[in-house]
Assembly symmetry: C2
Homo-oligomer: 187 residues x 2
């Protein structure tokens, strides 16, 4: 039994029930192990949560790097950032939901390490918007709020996105970027 398989099963259960309601027995059951054997693969329940949040956030931060350094205008960067986020979200629904909704269950110490990384990710979105202002293609009153609005649109999709639904992640990213960019453009 690989650690990856355990984390994947854990993500699904934690997403469904929430961190506290998800028991180690649930997780052990999902991967057909006894609780004791589960504990030979991982240190603690909290360690599972930390591993999940780290993995999800690190990947999102990695995925946005090529967007930031690409030689394209800010509006195109914004589109790519939205696509990267929704692509990751749709292919890692459980992990994304845990990242966005369960960080409050981190122990205070781990939470203190996590939040700055999360804020770093948000800063990349703000940076793209500020670039658009510097390029003269965006006019936004408040780039910091605009970034929160954009990331809010992206993040909230984990609450309703359905892989079997009418809209693909691509379509949602396209149309969300369309709507938001119109609000950013200089006119």
């Amino acid at each position: 039994m690989s650690k990856e398989a355990i984390l994947e099963a854990a993500a699904q259960i934690i997403r469904e029930k929430g961190y506290h309601a998800a028991s180690m027995a649930d997780i052990a059951n999902a991967v057909d192990l006894s609780k004791a054997t589960l504990y030979s693969h991982i240190d603690s329940k909290q360690a599972i949560l930390v591993a999940l949040l780290d993995q999800a956030l690190e990947t999102l931060i990695e995925d946005i790097q090529p967007v930031l350094t690409a030689n394209v205008p800010a509006d195109e960067k914004f589109r790519r950032a939205m696509h990267a986020f929704l692509s990751y979200m749709s292919e890692n629904l459980d992990l994304s939901a845990v990242l966005l909704l369960e960080h409050r269950s981190l122990d205070p110490e781990k939470r203190g390490e996590h939040i700055p990384r999360r804020d770093e990710y948000e800063s990349y979105w703000r940076q793209i918007i500020e670039e658009g202002v510097a390029e003269g293609i965006f006019t936004v009153e408040d780039p910091s709020l605009s970034a929160k609005v954009a990331l809010g649109v992206a993040s909230w999709t984990v609450m309703w996105f359905n892989p079997q639904g009418r809209l693909s992640a691509e379509q949602i990213a396209d149309q969300s970027a369309d709507i938001l960019l119109e609000g950013f453009y200089k006119r």
Copy 2:
């Protein structure tokens, strides 16, 4: 000790810790009662959650009614809906967070009653957008998705809004509506 005071304290604790991590001892402590006395005021922990979700959602649904029936164009209705939501959110932060984030902890039966009411609220936002299309002032590809985008912006604010922060709920509502409406307008 009034039931309202108990629910208010419960909302704060459930918002902070999540439903499962919030214990009846925590809640009893917050209102200076013993656990047993707490149980003489409310039936169960689940009943607290149901009461909180009902109260929050009913108020939001009531608050949006005058917006829907007002004799103003759809863009003004949209602005008012955003203001109504953010006004309620900022004045009932704990309750709003519980409404938006804890409905998964409802027992299946209660959840089955809650979700349609929540969808009803979302339908009012979609209705406003469809009115704008009918009036010829909006051009949106997909009113259903546009409503989810707008409600996503509004809802995600509970994750970061700070009453002592730089931006008031009014300012956030203004600027969010500005950004989104530009994406809706016909051009």
